[in-house]
């Protein structure tokens, strides 16, 4: 009998032991470094959605979660929330990024050149049985990456691309304050950066198919390492305390102008921790769709334009928790419904009999 069973305590303990056994699986225990390096993209996704840059911890969480991505993100989030917030870093300078990859779909050639980097693009999706047999890839020649200024800076100089206001204030922190709507763009981007990749992908795709179309070109997509700096007021200068890998996508979007803005290109922005290219592109499309109000565009009722809808449902930890809670016992409320339905049916039957 599935009861809110007597003996819930023993049942929970037994379930946890079983889980531990299943988790261990067969063969040698996976090394955390192996996971971090060989399954780097899933590790990046856990960092990105967990909002914590720590590849080793993300790898550990993935192993503990048996590869369940959202469960791993959850472990990271629950750990992150116990950490003190010491301060805000300076904005990272992605223009100074040591790029592993950098492509622009808007210009054939750009200063610094196009760099494909370690991409799946143009691979034929054929299962590589040689890799399964353990063949090592040929070694690469290493060269120091040159500086590659951002494509948007070129367009910006001509005034063709809408300038974004810069602010010196620290953005609000959505993990420390309740989300208030309407949200500023910084807060929206923060929510999107933590959002579920699949959810953003679906929304971004919907804009491409006409639900709030934004005519996006990938102005630039870049992936690589940047330094993170923090101001030290006591010393009067900033120091770099970390180097992290990020993916940045800037879309250039057609914009015919509105009552308040002259015709110019506008931008959508996506930034993720680690290599999360699909997410960065999706994020920039959704970010652009959400800007309809600032740009004086029409709200056409598309899901991706709807700030409240997007922000309230993008977080997979919230979503999964609430979705899965329906497997908890609900027999008190179900009993209330049963009693009501039986009563309404009785009343309906009596009415029918009376009519006959």
């Amino acid at each position: 009998m599935y009861v809110a069973a007597k003996g819930g305590e023993e049942a929970i303990a037994a379930a946890h032991s079983w889980l531990a056994e299943e988790r261990r699986g067969r063969g040698a225990l996976l090394d955390v470094d192996q996971i971090a390096s060989q399954l780097a993209l899933v590790v990046a996704r856990v960092m990105s959605e967990g909002s914590l840059y720590d590849p080793e911890l993300a790898a550990l969480a993935l192993r503990q979660a048996r590869g369940d991505l959202i469960e791993a993100v959850f472990l990271i989030r629950a750990y992150r929330t116990t950490l003190p917030r010491l301060g805000a870093s300076r904005p990272i300078d992605t223009g100074a990024m040591a790029c592993d990859r950098r492509v622009s779909a808007t210009f054939k050639d750009i200063p610094g050149g196009q760099v494909l980097g370690p991409t799946f693009d143009y691979t034929h999706r054929l299962i590589d049985f040689a890799e399964a047999a353990g063949a090592d890839p040929a070694a690469l020649a290493e060269a120091a990456p040159p500086l590659r200024p951002r494509v948007s800076d070129h367009l910006g100089r001509e005034g063709l691309l809408r300038d974004e206001p810069r602010g010196d204030t620290s953005p609000p922190d959505l993990t420390r304050e309740p989300l208030a709507l309407p949200a500023c763009r910084a807060l929206r981007l923060q929510a999107l950066a933590r959002a579920d990749e699949g959810f953003l992908l679906g929304l971004a795709y919907s804009t491409q198919r006409g639900y709030g179309r934004t005519h996006a070109f990938v102005g630039e997509l870049r992936l690589g390492a940047v330094e993170v700096e923090i101001d030290l007021p006591e010393l009067g200068f900033s120091v770099a305390f970390a180097e992290i890998s990020v993916t940045e996508c800037e879309t250039v979007n057609q914009f015919t102008g509105s009552k308040t803005e002259p015709p110019q290109f506008t931008r959508g922005y996506g930034l993720t921790l680690g290599a999360c290219e699909r997410k960065a592109i999706s994020m920039s499309l959704v970010d652009r769709a959400l800007q309809w109000r600032e740009l004086g565009e029409d709200f056409v009722g598309a899901p991706a334009q709807d700030e409240e809808f997007v922000l309230a449902h993008a977080d997979n930890i919230q979503a999964t928790g609430f979705l899965e809670h329906i497997k908890l016992p609900h027999y008190v409320d179900f009993q209330a419904e049963l009693e009501l339905i039986r009563r309404l049916r009785r009343a309906a039957a009596q009415t029918r009999e009376a009519a006959e």
């Binding site: 809110a4 819930g8 309740p178 208030a180 609430f322 008190v332 409320d333 419904e337």
Partner: protein
Amino acid sequence: MTDYNFAYLDEPTKKMIRRAILKGLAVPGYQVPFASREMPMPCGWGTGGVQVTAACLMPKDVLKVIDQGADDTTNAVSIRAFFARVAGVATTTRTAKASIIQTRHRIPETPLREDQILVYQVPIPEPLRFLEPRETETRRMHALEEYGLMHVKLYEDIARHGAIATSYAYPAMVNDRYVFDPSPIPRFDNPKLESPAIQLFGAGREQRIYAIPPHTRVVSLDFEDHPFEASKADGVCALCGAEDSYLDEIVADDAGTRRFQCSDTDWCAERRA
């Protein structure tokens, strides 16, 4: 003890939550936004209640946790074990012995006292949510005390079914001002919302806290010609013979024989003791 602060949350976070609780008590039924933390258990599984309990707990408190009225439900067991571990407080299954009771979906049958706090886990704090999905809109409706939509919904129930077809999470007006969601308790429990105890409601995922101070007027919404009715299954408890307690229905065999027993396990056990 553990490496964590008493009752898991750090003190500044507890202070932030206590402020929200005090505001909630000062404005009964008003949903106070608070910076809900990510807890080491899933959203939707009581994180709001857990944060409120954590902010209220003192080392001398005696904690009782129930889910569906029972102390031995898996999630109640899990939350009780969590606080036993991170706060080291005494726990009990006896309603009368508890100073704080965290609950999901029930109000205990044993009348509560002034020195007790009842903490509800709330999935959707907004009573108007399924009539109007936008938070920006529902907050405005509360501000203007614009509850016509809810009355229309209840009226439509009567027009269609001859009765109000809301059997749990039955909306009520607190202190003649705010319509609030009492969480998914059966409407049988609504009359107990007027209580000498402090009642606190925590919705973690939705980042809201609200409260009913002791001895505050709570009126379940109804119409003069269709008065509110605190209904329950027609049956008696097979264990203690109670006729006036809320009952769980149990399917006893393959032929579909039904049996009832008290949902409040402590109350039932006390009656049999």
